[in-house]
């Protein structure tokens, strides 16, 4: 377990599989291991690297018969995207939408997951299935009816419409996962809290949530990513540049003819950076969070 605060009182926790004292690997095995991982890293990185390299080229050289690593490398494309397009506004909108999706998504999935983990209420088992089924109906077909509902709620062209829609995408999985995570937190802690005078909500908020940080980190990462680069809902619900998010905004660089490869590649890099940063801070918790969620899921 990556988070030591949980490890001791949980009782049921297995001993972490920390590096065991092992025989040293043979040099050959070592080379094979690092070689394989190095190759995997190469595969994982090179499409990203290729986009980054492309973003440094002038527009006409990005899609070209002659494939070269560098053509007049410069940051002109970035300057252009950041100063002469609505990119900064989309970026801000995406940040707002992703942040609120994250907060609301975490709140919803953590409380639903907690209820499913702790309370044996009528309808609990059905709910697990309902969550699964919501993942099965294709989003592409849901967009029109959801638009109509949003229109009836007067939410078209608002960031709220996106936040709500993204929550429907992310919350079922996150609730499932959080439930698994809560299952690993001893129930006695809740009982102790109940005896100490906390109600169910306060117990959840003051005792259980602080212990569920790794699970929350995964949920945060997942909800953030769901909202950050989403395209389909954003295209459908947002009507003005004022509220456009990155995924939808970037489509403006791909008009019917004459795609703006320069703006598009630079935009793609810029859109990936914050996601990578969020991921970088969350990754420490990712393994522990998914463990619990998955094991009991």
């Amino acid at each position: 377990m990556a988070d030591p605060t949980l490890a001791q009182d949980a009782g049921a926790h297995t001993r972490a599989a920390t590096p065991r004292p092992r025989r040293t690997r043979s040099p050959l095995a070592s080379v094979a291991l690092h070689g394989t991982l190095g190759l995997a890293v190469l595969v994982a990185l090179f499409p990203i690297v290729w986009v980054v390299l492309s973003s440094l080229k002038p527009g006409y050289a990005i899609q070209s018969s002659e494939i070269t690593l560098f053509v007049e490398p410069s940051f002109d494309n970035y300057v252009h995207v950041l100063t002469e397009t609505s990119f900064p506004r989309w970026f801000l909108n995406s940040a707002v939408v992703a942040a609120f999706t994250m907060v609301i998504g975490i709140t919803m999935s953590a409380s639903a997951g907690y209820a499913m983990s702790r309370f044996n209420f009528p309808g609990r088992r059905g709910l697990m299935w309902v969550f699964l089924v919501t993942q099965m109906f294709p989003v592409a077909i849901l967009i029109v009816p959801i638009y109509t509902i949003m229109a009836n709620l007067g939410l078209i062209d608002t960031k709220l419409s996106l936040i709500i829609a993204y929550c429907t995408v992310a919350v079922p999985f996150c609730a499932w996962m959080m439930r698994g995570y809560f299952d690993t937190i001893p129930k006695e802690l809740d009982e102790a809290a109940a005896l100490d005078g906390l109600g169910p909500f306060a117990t959840f908020y003051r005792v259980v949530l602080p212990l569920a940080r790794p699970g929350l980190a995964v949920t945060a990462f997942y909800t953030f990513l769901t909202a950050w680069g989403e395209v389909a809902y954003a295209i459908a619900f947002i009507q003005t540049d004022e509220n456009l998010t990155l995924g939808a905004g970037l489509q403006q660089f791909v008009p019917r003819f004459n795609p703006q490869w320069d703006s598009l590649t630079a935009g793609a890099v810029l859109i990936t950076v914050p996601a990578a940063l969020v991921f970088f801070f969350a990754q420490k918790h990712l393994v522990a969070g998914l463990t619990a969620g998955g094991t009991k899921g």
């Binding site: 001791q8 009182d9 006695e188 009982e191 109940a194």
Partner: protein, 370 residues
């Protein structure tokens, strides 16, 4: 530390049936615990002792019957409104809080001002010898220290009832014995009504003012430790209480005697009358209730020694009844440490006067023996 107002506890027909189960986990429990009393709930696992405790704490629904603390009906009150504190088997300390925060949490929730909380925590810590650890997180403590923090958390609140659910089971054997006495003496000092759950009958006997024995959700007997030991209400209690356990067996009754192996042990008249036409009786005698005898002594029977354990202060002989091939149970006999029989030897014993217990074969209920 000021003493708290301690309350009596009354279970009145309290019943718990888990969803999806036909059989009650606790079946119409009637039990009255006096204010200030230390009552131990004991029984094998699955007997409903923990469930009973959790019903009292409000952690478990009560499906029928009532629970009173003092005169208050708390049957459907929330745990926090019952004025009780609980020590959990795994202590359930909040990992993200320091020892002091753990102990003072309930007071903080209740809105007690910080200075008072700190004062009371420090008082409790002094009693439990935890003063040096107040700012540590639970993970930095040893098992015994954690156990004391859990105790401290309970006593800081000065509740009218303590609930303790096997609080010693995570300690090693030696620590368990010393903590056992600490808890008992602490309880006596505080005078707080305590309901203590354990599966260990030694703990039950050494700690409780009274002990309640449960089996299959049914209360078997409530009495002082000595009362249980000397006057078990049924064969289950007789077999459960005492170490080594009472020798129990079913024997046929012949002319007012029980045929035990080759021997005929006389039964009191009242017992014989109670057995009546059944012709069989369940007889029990504790290991220390057997007296060495010689072959042919009236009421004696023979035991062939299989193993002899010499403990220094005592010796225990484990053997088979001679002349009763059908019985597989061993007989246990406590002997003085000197001059013990050899393995394989056949030894004769009689039951000391008043050392014989008799139980109904069908119901297990105690039969009169005087």
């Amino acid at each position: 530390m000021s003493t708290s107002t301690s309350s009596s506890v009354t279970f009145s027909g309290a019943t718990r049936i888990y969803p999806g189960s036909d059989r009650p986990a606790v079946d119409a429990l009637d039990l009255h615990i006096e204010a200030g009393e230390f009552l131990v709930l004991v029984g094998p696992s699955g007997c409903g002792k923990s469930t009973s405790l959790r019903m009292l704490a409000g952690l478990e629904e009560v499906d029928a019957g009532q629970i009173l603390i003092g005169d208050r009906d708390v049957t459907h009150l929330r745990p926090k409104d019952r004025d009780i504190a609980m020590v959990f088997q795994n202590y359930a300390l909040y990992p993200h809080m320091t020892v002091a925060e753990n102990m003072g949490f309930a007071l903080k929730i209740a809105g007690v001002d910080k200075a008072t909380v700190r004062k009371q925590v420090e008082e409790a810590a002094a009693i439990l010898d935890l003063a040096d650890y107040l700012d540590r997180k639970p993970k930095a403590l040893s098992g015994g220290q954690r156990q004391r923090v859990a105790m401290g958390r309970a006593i800081v609140r000065q509740p009218s009832v303590f609930c303790m659910d096997e609080p010693l089971s995570n300690l090693d054997a030696k620590l368990r014995v010393s903590t056992r006495t600490q808890i008992a003496s602490l309880q006596r000092r505080l005078g707080t009504t305590t309901v203590y759950v354990t599966h260990d009958q030694v703990e039950a006997m050494t700690m409780g003012d009274r002990v309640a024995v449960l089996k299959d959700g049914l209360l078997q007997q409530v009495d002082t430790p000595l009362g249980l030991y000397e006057k078990p209400a049924n064969a289950f209690v007789a077999g459960f209480i005492g170490s080594p356990a009472m020798n129990l067996g079913t024997f046929s009754v012949v002319d007012g005697h029980a045929r035990i192996g080759d021997g005929l042990v006389p039964l009191p008249r009242s017992t014989v009358e109670a057995v009546g036409a059944a012709g069989q009786v369940q007889v029990g005698f504790r290991p220390e209730a057997l007296l060495p005898a010689s072959e042919g002594d009236p009421g004696s029977f023979a035991v062939q020694a299989l193993v002899v354990e010499e403990l220094g202060s005592d010796a225990f002989l484990y053997g088979d009844l001679v002349g009763d091939d059908l019985r597989a149970d061993h007989v246990v006999v406590r002997l003085p440490p000197r001059g013990v029989p050899q393995k394989g030897e056949t030894v004769w014993f009689t039951v000391e006067p008043g050392g014989l217990h008799a139980f109904d074969v069908e119901t297990g209920a105690a039969l009169p023996t005087h």
